[in-house]
Subunit: 374 residues, 2 copies
């Protein structure tokens, strides 16, 4: 229970998970755990891995985990967290994205013990009649109880009729997969609850929902999302990933520890204590985090190589006063206006940095020498 | 134009119909005229025939008319005029009703010149993706502009999500059928307009909509509807049909003339004038109406037989003071408590009535002699 509830923000109903785990242990029948991902972008990022790691926890305990690729729901686009209607994707885009998801997810899950499913399997079979009967299972008022819809409705932002079908379809997936538990972010609560309604309606025991907190992206403010440009993709090169992780705030670092590593809560708390008493430097703790995450998606060797030897150049140029912002610095690098130790340097990442060494940077007429402290 | 606009309540856009008729005449390409009927009840009634007669007018002018049986939309149930969600029908019930509609409609239309279509043809093909893309073409706010939805929403009456799909699906039918004109009652305006939107979206010239007034039933108040018990079914026996028609109010009679006969507007106006000046007895005019309608759905011989020889007994017993209401009289007839000329009489209709003759009626202890005036 410690493992599967670690980092959970809310479990509904709160006591039912323990009971169902006990029942599964007594009967020897594994529980069926679903997490669904709509392949609306070409790559998975660390935000997705919060749920995938949680799937792995259940997998480690012998339960059946279902990595559900929402290739049919991607056509609708989950309205969660959106204040505008998503642009619909084509089947081809969705198919390509789905293939990438499938490759990338096995960096975390055990392929031999994972059911990979596509919801087009049953949604394409549903037909006109099935869709109508499904849509008849909810009312407009129930849909407007949803925060996002209510807000958009009040603010006279358009809500497309098809967006109201999304929660019902997600719930129908749970019926078809006979889920015992569905995982999702806290912003998914409305959708996750529909699964309970529809399972009850279909004569199944309603699934338990386990919600994880929203993982903020590099900016520490908004939910990690490729379209917001604050994401760390799990396909990114080790150095890039390491550099991005080193750029997060000290506060956010603890949340990343909880949601993106397998350290126990008690271990994380102990580290945090040590840092607050000055016994441990936060930079060291952050390096360990970055190392651990790079190891998960690449290898320990790659993580070693990235550790301490990568510096993001735009941020450095800004901090050193050569550019008014990291954005400006990025532009200048693109314009080939930056030199390092007297030579043009057009890479956004500085490699081969050694503690105790130094480097001479120039941008336009300004130059500066940076010393790498031990 | 006189024939096709006779009795029309509204044409949108008002000038376009004349133009499209002229274009069709010039090109020799007939227009495509659709009227759709959801087989939600086992029989057609006179209310349906208002539109079917209008289809015939177009047919008489050489245009292609489409009698669309909404076997797929019947699964949703048109929310028009409803303040509660309809109970869904099964495919079997719908199929049986659709068969009856098909038989009954050719009492008015020429079978050789009518396209009978079922919207399951294309809706069953639409699939999950098609439904989603269709539902994406309207917003919740547009749907709530519809009077019925707005009213139900304000009054916190439930609106099912599937009801919002109905207008879109009806519009999609027009796209698939490439309609030039769609016919419907004035209460159908919202649904009919969706066809224009979706045709424009699909690159087709938007259909012209021709709306007919709502036909009130026997009560003269509510829209004719089988479920309200105020309908005259086109399958009903000649005597029954005749008797029911004779029971409508003098006011309603004129509307029936306009919508249920082929008399020109000017002829009807002339008759009305004559009645108001006392030159013509309204009973005579009503008999002619009843005769004409019975002739249309049975034969002139049947109409002759029904004309003047059928009296609805419950109403007569009430008028004669033997029962406190027609309802009570109906009950008493069912209990075998009524005698005519000394013999038990258990039929709700009196036949063989001859002007100048008379009949002795008894109910319980009360009796009365009725003389048939010439």
């Amino acid at each position: 229970m410690d493992l599967i509830t670690k980092g959970a923000a809310e479990i509904i109903p709160s006591e039912a998970l323990r009971e169902r785990v006990a029942k599964s242990a007594a009967s020897g029948v594994p529980m069926r755990i679903k997490a669904g991902f709509d392949p609306t972008a070409p790559d998975l990022h660390l935000g997705h891995t919060v749920l995938i790691r949680k799937l792995r926890h259940f997998q480690q305990l012998g339960h059946t985990v279902i990595f559900l690729i929402g290739d049919a729901t991607a056509l609708i686009g989950d309205p969660t967290g959106r204040n505008v209607t998503r642009k619909p994707l084509t089947r081809e885009e969705i198919g390509r994205n789905a293939e990438t998801y499938k490759e990338q997810v096995f960096k975390i899950l055990d392929p031999g013990k994972t059911e990979v499913r596509y919801n087009s399997e049953w949604l394409d079979e549903l037909g006109f009649e099935g869709m109508i009967r499904l849509a008849a299972k909810a009312t407009l008022s129930q849909m407007l109880e949803r925060d996002e819809f209510h807000k958009r409705f009040q603010e006279e932002q358009p809500i497309s009729v098809h967006e109201m079908l999304y929660p019902l379809v997600q719930g129908y997936d749970s019926v078809m997969l006979k889920c015992d538990v569905e995982l999702g972010g806290t912003d998914q609560k409305f959708n996750l609850m529909r699964g309970r309604d529809l399972q009850r309606d279909a004569g199944q025991p309603p699934q338990i929902i386990l919600m994880t907190p929203i993982l903020e992206g590099l900016d520490g403010v908004q939910k990690m999302s490729k379209s917001l440009g604050n994401a760390i993709g799990i396909h990114e090169p080790a150095g890039e990933m390491y550099g991005k992780l080193m750029s997060i705030s000290d506060d956010l670092m603890w949340k990343y520890y909880t949601l993106l590593t397998d350290l126990r809560g008690s271990e994380i708390d102990a580290m945090r204590d040590e840092v607050s008493h000055g016994g441990l430097h936060p930079m060291k703790v952050k390096k360990d985090l970055a190392w651990s995450i790079v190891r998960d998606f690449h290898s320990a060797t790659d993580a070693d190589a990235a550790d301490g030897v990568v510096v993001r150049l735009p941020k450095l140029l800004h901090l050193a006063g050569l550019a008014s912002s990291a954005g400006e610095a990025t532009r200048k690098i693109g314009e080939n206006a930056v030199s390092m130790d007297g030579e043009k340097y057009a890479d956004k990442v500085l490699r081969g940095v050694k503690a105790g060494g130094s480097v001479a940077l120039r941008l336009g007429k300004k130059s500066v020498r940076v010393d790498w402290v031990k």
